[in-house]
């Protein structure tokens, strides 16, 4: 019972951090809480948010996906290539692109599940190789000239709400639904929590890993498409380093990197924290070098605090 309270508090703690940040930034610059800025902030983190769904699943399994950034870059290029250089219909291009990103995810799944490689190495190899491929396809040059219609995903509005924010919200809802309501979502916890027990209960762990990496690829792909539409130009290095931003959102959100524990709502908070930091520090006119330091310190403190609590509980 007591531990339940602790957990509840812990799950809430990340929201308290968020509220604290919001207060600090608002004091520093009242514009921070201007509804327009909030919407802007949400739009800014939408790509992190979308990509974090798949990353959450991967980390719940106790694995990691370093290929997210490259998938975003790759998707940027091939979707742009399909539409601009091949004149493909927008929807077809999007579907093919998402398919491609899912297949890259399956490749990760293959290496981790069937070959048995540690996820960190497998996904790093994919990261390196596909970065090269994206550069080859694009020749290092940006690809642009999309239709007006395509801009909707990244730049459009429904009422006053930016479309990417709506997509992010839908993705979080879907992610939460998968985790809490579907049987495979429950399997993620089982596999991450006790892989042996999961196997012996008849869960096909191998397939779950394929599934999760494929999902991670898919959401990275979706994030890539939103990014492409938002910046209206496809770059082969667009997603460079994104995986660590996304991992940071997920881990700040309280998902355990050793797997088995974590909630979608925490990841939402983690994503907003990153967004608030990035947005708020610019509003506060903080030197971009100092921003790096703040990011590192916040990550260390948030996760460190969590770990100390866990350690205390274990004793």
């Amino acid at each position: 019972m007591k531990s339940k309270v602790v957990y509840q508090l812990k799950d809430k703690a990340i929201w308290l951090v968020l509220i604290f940040l919001v207060i600090v930034f608002t004091i520093a610059n009242p514009r921070f809480v201007n509804p327009n800025n909030i919407l802007t902030l949400l739009r800014q983190v939408s790509m992190y948010g979308i990509a974090s769904i798949g990353m959450t699943f991967v980390i719940l399994l106790g694995d990691i996906d370093l290929s997210t950034g490259t998938i975003i870059s790759f998707v940027n290029i091939i979707c742009a290539y399909f539409m601009v250089h091949m004149g493909m219909n927008m929807w077809l291009a999007i579907i093919l692109t998402l398919l491609a990103s899912t297949v890259i995810g399956l490749l990760n799944g293959f290496m981790v599940s069937t070959v048995g490689m540690p996820a960190i190495i497998a996904t790093f190899a994919v990261q390196t190789a596909f970065q090269g491929l994206a550069l080859i396809i694009s020749g290092g040059l940006p690809i642009n000239g999309f239709t007006e219609k395509f801009k909707v995903f990244g730049q459009g509005y429904v009422g006053i709400i930016p479309v990417p924010v709506i997509i992010m919200a839908l993705c979080f809802a879907l992610g939460s639904f998968i985790l809490n309501k579907t049987y495979f979502g429950r399997y993620f916890y089982a596999v991450g929590g006790n892989i042996e027990a999961a196997k012996l209960s008849g869960i096909r762990v191998g397939r779950i890993k394929y599934l999760v990496f494929a999902i991670s690829g898919f959401f990275a792909g979706l994030a890539g498409i939103v990014m492409l539409s938002r910046v209206n130009s496809g770059m082969a290095t667009a997603g460079l380093g994104y995986e660590f931003d996304v991992i940071t959102c997920v881990v700040l959100g309280g998902v355990s990197v050793t797997g088995g524990y974590g909630k979608m709502s925490g990841v939402v908070a983690g994503t907003f924290i990153i967004g608030a930091l990035q947005n708020g520090m610019v509003l506060m006119n903080i030197n971009s070098y100092v921003q790096d330091i703040v990011m590192g310190v916040v990550l260390a403190l948030a996760v460190g605090f969590d770990c100390i609590q866990k350690k205390r509980k274990a004793n």
Partner: protein, 507 residues
């Protein structure tokens, strides 16, 4: 012919590097019977039944379920064939609820959506049947070990299995829980379900089973009709010789004037106010049921767990080890219960395993004195008669008994005065067991060490100890001198705290 049997395991053989866990074992299970599977620790019971689920892939042999022949199983195949297994080790997911654990791997679902309400309803029903009060929504990690086991049992029953295999299901349960489990098991038998029941508690075997299959040292020994068998016969079959021979004799070597270890009112890690003394040349047995808190006590003495209060003396001097390192330096050693997890370092060599605690001592400026290192390892290989072609052999290629000897060698090399043995012969074959007993005898007799021995095997406890202290639920419930040794009395002490708590509950 095969109509009669729902499950047949034929000529199963399972080899691990350095160990043959099963040699040509055959088992036949009839419809609607309870077949008891008995054998000493490490006889291969768990390994055998794991072959039925695919958790272990047999090296050779056949598995025939309902007339269908397989070389090996998978968890899915087992489920399809109506086999449900309760494993000896816990197989649950701590972050999921009791209800979800109950339906792990086969949730009630509509399409892809799990129906939590329905699962919770069904779970409540299942728990009701077992007469256990568990809220299906409770997370597994918030349940006590006993309740976790009840969930495991409910899970197996819930599967509507045709064949139910239970590996020491009663071990962590209280007697009332065991009772309600028995009622369910008997009802299932009436419904025509076939059951394999593994237990070390012979009274349970006699109460439940129709036939008994005895394994020894990975080999099939005999199958008996329960009604026609006797306890003495069973024990003989299990152990392979008369019990009296099992324990090598030991002269009187206790030096009452020298107390090597004394603990006073030790509290913490789940134990309360434990006070005991171990003399030079003495083996003090520590008895109790599984979960009595003996391992916890050992961990506290060894500095591996935090103690809240109480004092500890080594040779009359107060010590306060906060880490194993400090304990080792004051002359304490621990041969842990879970050899694979806590003792053996499987990926490194025998030599390194033996030298691990004394490397710092045998180094100058942190450079290891390799001559000493080899000499030490060589010495204990000889002393312990460790069977290995080379000291560079990796630990994982040794048999369980030899691994245990290496760990023993480690602590002898460390020149410890007090050696704590936690289940020293668990998972060790009969031959090696005898050797380990001899080593223990030599330790107290010739080298004047003191030994604290934790054992769940009643015979071993009574056969090896000079005195026995019994724990129950983290409290000391009794102490017996050699002349007072008596199985019934020990069992009574061992279940004392439990019964008193149960009485309180019922009042």
């Amino acid at each position: 012919m095969s109509e009669e049997y729902v499950l047949q395991l034929e000529h199963i053989r399972k080899e691990y590097p350095g160990v043959v866990a099963l040699k040509d074992v055959t088992l036949e299970l009839r419809k609607g019977e309870i077949l008891a599977l008995i054998g000493e620790n490490g006889a291969g019971k768990s390994t055998l039944i794991k072959c039925c689920s695919g958790a272990v892939i047999p090296t050779s042999g056949k598995i025939i379920v309902n007339g269908k022949e397989y070389d090996s199983m998978t968890p899915q195949l087992a489920a399809e064939n109506g086999i449900a297994i309760i494993y000896q080790e816990f197989n649950n997911v701590k972050e999921l609820s009791a209800a979800e654990n109950l339906f792990l791997g086969r949730p009630i679902k509509k399409g892809i959506v799990v129906d939590k309400k329905a699962m919770e309803r069904e779970a409540a029903k299942a728990f009701e049947q077992l007469r256990i009060k568990i809220n299906p929504k409770t997370l597994m990690k918030d349940l006590t070990v006993g309740y976790q086991q009840m969930v495991e049992i409910a899970k197996a029953i819930q599967q509507d299995a045709k064949i139910l295999i239970m590996d020491e299901p009663s071990a962590p349960l209280t007697s009332a829980e065991v009772e309600s489990m028995f009622r369910v098991v008997e009802r299932l038998r009436k419904e025509g379900i076939s059951i394999i029941y593994i237990s070390h508690r012979l009274e349970e075997i006699y109460r439940l089973s129709d036939r008994i299959l005895v394994l020894r040292d990975g080999e099939y020994v005999k199958t008996l009709q329960t009604s026609e068998s006797h306890v003495q016969e069973l024990i003989k079959l299990m152990v392979g010789r008369e019990l009296t021979e099992t324990y090598p004799p030991r002269g009187d070597c206790i030096d009452k004037s020298q107390v090597v270890l004394e603990v006073k009112d030790l509290t913490g890690n789940g134990d309360e106010n434990i006070s005991l003394k171990v003399h030079k040349g003495e083996i003090l047995g520590l008895g109790g049921l599984v979960g009595a808190g003996r391992t916890e006590l050992a961990e506290m003495i060894f500095g591996a767990a935090k103690r809240q209060s109480g004092q500890m003396f080594i040779n009359g001097k107060e010590v306060n080890p906060k880490t194993p390192r400090e304990a080792i330096d004051t002359g304490i050693a621990l041969v842990p219960e879970d050899r694979k997890r806590h003792g053996a370092m499987l990926g490194i060599s025998i030599k390194d395993n033996i030298n691990m605690p004394i490397y710092e001592k045998n180094s100058t400026l942190s450079v290891i004195n390799s001559k000493k290192e080899v000499a030490t390892a060589e010495k204990y290989r000889e002393n312990m008669a460790i069977k290995t072609p080379s000291l560079h052999q990796l630990m994982k290629n040794l048999s369980g008994g030899n691994q245990q000897k290496v760990i023993l060698g480690r602590w002898l090399a460390a020149n410890s005065e007090l050696i704590i043995f936690d289940e020293p012969t668990r998972g060790i074959d009969v031959g090696a067991k005898y050797e380990i007993y001899k080593i223990m005898n030599d330790l107290v007799e010739k080298e004047g060490k003191a030994i604290l021995m934790i054992s769940s095997e009643m015979e071993e406890l009574m056969g090896m100890s000079d005195r026995i202290v019994v724990l129950s639920e983290g409290k000391m419930t009794g102490e017996l001198a050699k002349e007072e040794f008596n199985q019934e009395v020990i069992m009574e002490f061992a279940s004392e705290a439990r019964t008193s708590i149960e009485e309180e509950k019922t009042v």
